[in-house]
């Protein structure tokens, strides 16, 4: 009969090997890159955009939050489309059940738009 403690440790050895492999893989990828790449440091290479516009001003500049809100609203309709297209191809089969389900879904999504509109997000001030 095998020693139960050995059995137990062998089971957890799998996890240790797995973790070791994970670390080794990251290490190997970075290590191979480090070995293969040429190393010729130049001050030009430390600029943010090496061949682009010269960076001006401070790093922590703020960007307009409204772009983010518009992106979110876009996702609202994007997700809607993802679900509506497949649903529409089988609308007849789904019948009344499918119609009500989709009405509830669209109502909740539309509520998101109403909310955004009432909170003044759609105005570009």
């Amino acid at each position: 009969m095998p020693n139960p403690l050995n059995e137990l440790l062998r089971q957890y050895l799998t996890v240790a090997i797995f973790a070791g492999l994970g670390l080794a893989m990251v290490g190997a990828m970075l290590g191979v890159g480090w070995l293969l790449r040429p190393d010729r440091p130049e001050p030009q290479k430390y600029i943010n955009y090496e061949s682009g516009v010269d960076p001006l001003g401070v790093m922590w500049s703020q960007s307009q939050i409204r772009y983010y809100v518009f992106a979110l609203l876009f996702v609202l309709f994007d997700v809607e489309a993802v679900f509506i297209f497949p649903w529409a191809t089988r609308l007849e089969a789904y019948g009344a059940f499918g119609l009500i389900e989709m009405a509830v879904f669209i109502f909740i999504l539309a509520l998101g738009l109403v909310y955004a509109w009432r909170k003044g997000v759609l105005r570009w001030v």
Partner: protein, 509 residues
């Protein structure tokens, strides 16, 4: 041939709408409707609707409790969606705990959120959606349902943790919680994919039967451990607890209470479903893992809590230690499945009452002291005797002193680990006993400060406790006392659980 008939042919076999048991789903439907209603009222009324929000949310949570009660009275187990969703006594009790904790958290938030410069409709909306995820979690018996419930309860919580937008610490809290939560989700999903790969199903029941049959395999080991580690983050078990103190401290205090109680219990509910309905057959694997997690959580949580000067951080580390106590029965999950499951559930219910109460008193006292330092609560007995007595009740209950609820919780855990009759069980009993003593020291230290120390700034004006906060403290204190004086109440509920399947999973053949 018309275009429509071609389309009808292409679209495959006719669709049969799923039979849906609306009564069993009523708590979820009510919660969802109220959350949507809050957004609607908020969109229409804008500033004028602000005072309505807490009332709507609170009534909605109590409304969702009604179908839970009718389902419990009716008493039959309902299985939905091919076994992925089960409404039985166990899940109904847990749903009731989530809904009542949510109600208390709305009471705690009412003045805190209304008086600060916060968005109110969104706050209660997100709170309700998070609670919806928890209520779903209580019934989930399927890997995908568990994962969806987890995301539904976590994502609003990430935002709530960062609700004090102008405060750097709150942003830090939300960010830390988000990053750790997402990392945990990724690890857990990977584990779930491995479990699915081995068993070919996401339903826990067949997974349990397969795991009980096949014995050990490397893939199962990896899958099970990754899934359990994922939920260890959620319940803030050591060594995955590092986010908890910073997040609780930075988040608005009612949100900290929400994370410390409702969110933590949701993590335990997922662990209960996974372990007692799925992984029980792999006892050689899960028992040692949970033994180590429980032991580390108790010792590390308690020893670090000894050194805390901030009451929220102390409650955070005490929460880590309490998670250890709740994990202790899992260490004998397969040796004595029934007793240990009941012990965990008993502890969860009582923990919700006493920990919410402690947070409620902290919120009430902080209205005067404007500080979370324990020393700032010095001499609270002189200007707020009722709050001090209530805090002592909660603290000594957390420490496990009879006749308060925490005593029965600790007793159940102790009885479960001893009852299992294994060496690990006896060792765990000793660890639980030692840690109960360590914990008593820092809980009693806070009580001593409040009763005996002088008032730091000599300001003796009484604390104005708003009615909602007062009602929350009365409610939680009454429940804490009730569970301690009449432990049979909870025992009767846990005895009604239908746990026939456990023997099958734990002792196959």
């Amino acid at each position: 041939m018309t275009v429509l008939s071609v389309l009808a042919q292409l679209s495959g076999p006719p669709f049969e709408s799923l039979p849906i048991d609306w009564h069993a789903l009523a708590p979820e439907v009510v919660l969802l409707s109220v959350a949507v209603l809050i957004t609607l009222v908020d969109s229409i009324g804008l500033e004028r609707a602000r005072p309505l929000m807490p009332g709507l949310a609170g009534l909605g949570l109590l409304g969702a409790l009604i179908p839970v009660i009718t389902l419990a009275v009716e008493g039959s187990d309902r299985v939905l969606f091919g076994g992925a969703y089960v409404v039985d006594d166990l899940s109904l009790l847990l749903k009731a705990v989530f809904l009542l904790s949510g109600y208390v958290i709305v009471l705690l938030s009412t003045n805190y959120i209304a008086e600060g410069d916060y968005w109110e409709g969104e706050y209660y909306n997100l709170l309700l959606f998070s609670l919806l995820g928890m209520v779903v979690m209580a019934s989930a018996r399927d890997l995908i349902t568990i994962f969806v419930a987890l995301e539904l309860l976590s994502i609003p919580a990430y935002m709530l943790a960062a609700w004090r937008k102008g405060d750097r610490r709150s942003n830090e809290a939300g960010m830390k919680y988000l990053l750790m939560g997402v990392f945990a989700s990724a690890v857990m999903l990977y584990g779930m994919s491995l479990v699915y790969g081995v068993t070919g199903t996401t339903l826990l029941e067949p997974i349990g039967l397969i795991f009980a049959e096949v014995g050990t395999a490397s893939v199962i080991t990896l899958g099970v451990i990754f899934v359990i580690i994922g939920f260890s983050f959620k319940v803030s078990a050591v060594p995955f607890h590092t986010w908890a103190p910073d997040t609780y401290e930075g988040a608005p205090t009612p949100v900290a209470a929400f994370l410390a109680v409702a969110s933590k219990i949701a993590g335990f509910v997922a662990l209960i479903s996974l372990i007692y309905f799925g992984f029980l057959g792999q006892s050689d694997l899960i028992e040692p893992l949970l033994f180590i997690l429980a032991t580390l959580s108790m010792f590390v949580g308690n020893l670090i809590a000894l050194r805390q000067t901030n009451i929220i951080r102390m409650l955070a580390y005490s929460g880590v230690a309490q998670a250890g106590f709740m994990l202790a029965p899992f260490a004998v999950a397969a040796s004595d499945p029934e007793t240990s499951l009941k012990a965990v559930v008993t502890y969860l219910v009582i923990y919700a009452a006493m920990n919410l109460g402690a947070f409620a008193v902290v919120i009430a006292l902080a209205r005067k002291t404007r500080s979370g330092e324990i020393s700032s609560f010095g001499g609270a007995f002189q200007y707020a005797p009722a709050l001090t007595v209530a805090m002592s009740v909660f603290l000594f209950s957390l420490a496990g002193i009879p006749p308060l609820g925490g005593w029965f919780a600790k007793f159940s855990v102790f009885a479960a680990v001893v009852n299992a009759g294994t060496t690990a069980g006896y060792v765990m009993a000793v660890i639980v006993a030692v840690n109960s003593v360590i914990a008593l020291y820092y809980y009693a230290q806070v009580a001593k400060t409040m009763w005996m120390d002088p008032v730091p700034d000599g300001d003796m004006t009484p604390v104005g406790v708003p009615p909602s906060l007062g009602w929350a403290i009365v409610l939680t204190a009454a429940l804490t006392l009730l569970f301690g004086v009449l432990p049979g109440l909870l025992g009767d509920v846990t005895d009604s659980f239908d746990l026939g399947h456990l023997e099958l999973l734990a002792f196959p053949g």
